[in-house]
Symmetry: C2
Subunit: 90 residues, 2 copies
């Protein structure tokens, strides 16, 4: 049993309104960043799980995303490759 | 001038309390995910900018992070490699 860290990217689905992103575009332009065209804001999670293999860790976190972490109606999620994590470190 | 999409990961710095992550750990355990050990919750942004090169796009978005997008006192940020983005698509 190893401790795996699985990074998860959760983003608003294409076409879904992202008012927070639109507000950030406005703020960036005000600050002088004229070249900004669009910003989309989602969530980035790192989930640490005990699992027998990287494949098992991925499967567990995928189920977590489907059940709790992401809202499939308005969000897409993507998992990065699990990394073995030394215990007791954050 | 190309349109580049630069993904940005913003995470709470190690040692910084993450009450939202702790709440999600509790919820996952309640749902039966006994193997979860820790969850840290940050933000995932995609920033679309006009730039002459991928290097220029990275530099612009790095400045945006330092000035507005991330709070360096409590957050670390990491940029992924810019990707050329077809115009008019989200």
């Amino acid at each position: 049993m190893e401790l795996y860290r699985v990074p998860v990217q959760i983003v608003p689905r294409p076409g879904i309104l992202d008012p927070q992103g639109a507000a950030v575009v406005g703020a960036l332009k005000t600050l002088g960043f004229a070249s900004v065209v669009d910003v989309r804001i989602g969530r980035f999670l790192t989930v640490d799980v005990d699992a027998d293999s990287a494949e098992a860790a991925t499967l567990i976190v995928q189920r977590m995303c489907e059940k709790l972490l992401a809202n499939p109606v308005i969000e897409d999620f993507a998992l990065e490759a699990p990394r073995v994590q030394p215990r007791g470190k954050s």
